[in-house]
Symmetry: C2
Subunit: 384 residues, 2 copies
């Protein structure tokens, strides 16, 4: 057996971080993770940086972060797959250890979204959609996911309220997360009265851009056992791709990449969806979490509306989902998000999530989507 | 023993490829590599894309390439470390196989440098230098390397002619490479008469941006032996980082990351510099090849001038360097370059390089630099 363990986790405050450069954000998370692991830099062999580089004025981001963290001359490089860049970095670090190249690797997801102006950011984001046939004709990200939402409502009777119940839940838990961008509860009434964005979406259906960083320290089984008395294991690593264009998708009510990535991860970890006690899923829009319930097998196809209605994704329900606030309330620094999810699930499995702790959490999952599901990374984490 | 083998190589024509999008360039190289390997897509488990995404109007490049190559729903992601992005992709693919996650992986380096205007490209490239203290004050890439050149000349008496002798050699061999951007010989006199760029550099000291792609198919030892009768083995994988800023370097006459990455790669492969018969090194400027001779141990420190003067890096000399034309004559599509190097060395070890074949080539090396040496990846390849 040769597992890869998480021996340190660190997370900065997500938000408009005009107080910090991207490398300073990275350091904040890295320092916390190293202190958590109780190791110093001598123990580290390499780093992997998850980020979408073009949002920063300084390019060659891996080098900048590497130097600022004091990790020169170790190997480093950056992984990019839009909003799933952080999970690609974890997968890369995992492979680095599992391959025998490295024993201990720092994985840092970091992103500054506020260096550029809003029009610049909108232009960049639009270009993550298929530029030749789609984004040029108005399919911004809210518009893409609004298509998914309308289709889900049409086919399965998912209600407007169901979508916003996801937001209400995630704000409920976000209020308990000191690292979250929005730390206040919202009511369904308030959400239903919010400004329209792209039919059927209103403001509270959409997550918010944020600056932020998160870090995990990965180690080989031998090193993890030696260095940590509470390692969490990355036992299932799923990853799949899907077409850029929604025109070439078989259905608009789910993400095929999420279905495939989760099957892979479950099989590799030797678990089923029923074993998952806590999950962080990619709720960039409310419908994304609705689709994730089904794509991940938490409920049968088409029944997500009832699932959230019955609070099955709250603590105490079938599986606790996004009890750190999710992208919705925690904020979405795109390169950091995947690592942030892994930090949260590791914390839950360690039983250290405080007032949002999921009882008896022994198996957890992260579900990190890039673009409109062009990529999906699913990881299954276990306590022992 | 569990080696990783190269079972297929493919390379497109480098140049101003207004005939092709970046995904079409990727396909050109991918198809050639798949035909070379004699396999079809069913044999592939995953892909890794090496590229610098911000030069393309379409973002989320891994997804675009993945779909265009017909590789959905396989895992894919992109690696970025400036001009070493291609080698980071190979290292990632190598780890994916070595970790046991995958058996056969396609690694594609691809880059379109001509989608943006020249001022846009210059602005982007400048930002790969350290923006806070250096690039804002005029250290473009030619200026950075010109600093290295002047220091090398000052400390070791390396002559203006020595630098341009590198260009003469690389054009000599580039003329024999049908995939090269510049396929004509130049004379030292012509080079010495060319326009000034950044003292001491003239036009012929500098490589040229180009569009292009290259692809290698990697396989586990078991699969490589099964699928190929001429696998080439990736036995040494070195990687190191260095400070962003030249102000924080101990010396300007070499790249510490190259020295460290090559030591790692030699040790891992069980070879020394003396065993290397053929090498592709990162000659973005003539002095970069001069420094590489020393950083890689091909000649003692400070003796590179004499080394090129004596034609020790020609076929028939101590070690044949850049006999595909190098970045100088072949062109430099930044994300493709590392993969292009690996394609060339594999071809040499297979004895298929035609009129630029290095006799008895059994051990070869690639040396791919990101930025001004913030990253260096060195790979040692063996025939058997």
């Amino acid at each position: 057996m040769n597992r890869v363990g998480i021996i340190g986790i660190g997370h900065g405050v997500f938000g408009r971080r005009s107080d910090a450069t991207v490398q300073e954000l990275a350091f904040e998370a890295f320092r916390a993770a190293m202190q958590d692991a109780g190791i110093d830099r001598d123990a580290l062999d390499a780093s992997v940086i998850g980020s979408v580089p073009e949002y920063h004025k300084q390019r060659s981001l891996a080098g900048v972060v590497q130097e600022y963290l004091g990790l020169v001359p170790r190997p480093t490089w950056l992984t990019e797959v839009a909003c799933a860049s952080g999970s690609a970095a974890i997968r890369t670090g995992w492979m680095g250890i599992k391959s025998g190249l490295h024993d201990v690797v720092a994985v840092i997801g970091c992103q500054k979204m506020t260096e550029l102006s809003t029009p610049e950011i909108l232009a960049l984001m639009g270009r993550v959609g298929e530029v030749q046939w789609e984004s040029g004709f108005g399919t911004t990200f809210p518009a893409y996911y609004a298509l998914f939402a309308r289709r889900h409502m049409h086919e399965f009777g998912t209600s407007r309220e169901n979508l916003l119940q996801v937001a209400v839940k995630n704000h409920h838990y976000g209020a308990k997360n000191p690292m979250a961008l929005f730390r206040k509860e919202i009511t369904l009434e308030k959400a239903l009265a919010s400004e329209e964005v792209a039919t059927p979406f209103q403001v509270y259906d959409c997550c918010a851009n944020a600056d932020g960083a998160a870090c995990v320290i990965l180690a080989s089984e031998e090193k993890a056992t030696e260095l940590s008395d509470k390692p969490v294991w990355l036992d299932g690593m799923g990853c799949a791709s899907a077409s850029m264009s929604v025109l070439r998708r078989p259905s608009l009510t789910g993400l095929p990449s999420a279905q495939q990535a989760s099957s892979m991860a479950y099989e590799m970890a030797g678990v089923t969806a029923d074993d998952i006690k806590v999950a962080d899923v990619h709720d960039c829009f409310t419908v994304a979490e609705i689709m994730a319930y089904e794509d991940l097998g938490f409920c049968p196809k088409g029944e997500s509306g009832r699932f959230i209605e019955e609070k099955q994704s709250y603590i105490g329900g079938k599986v606790a989902v996004n009890v750190d606030g999710g992208l919705k309330a925690k904020g979405h620094p795109i390169g950091a998000t995947g690592v942030s999810m892994t930090v949260e699930i590791a914390k839950q499995l360690r039983g250290e999530a405080g007032e949002r702790q999921v009882p008896d959490a022994d198996v957890g999952l992260t579900h990190n989507v890039g673009g409109i599901g062009q990529y999906c990374f699913v990881q299954v984490l276990k306590k022992d």
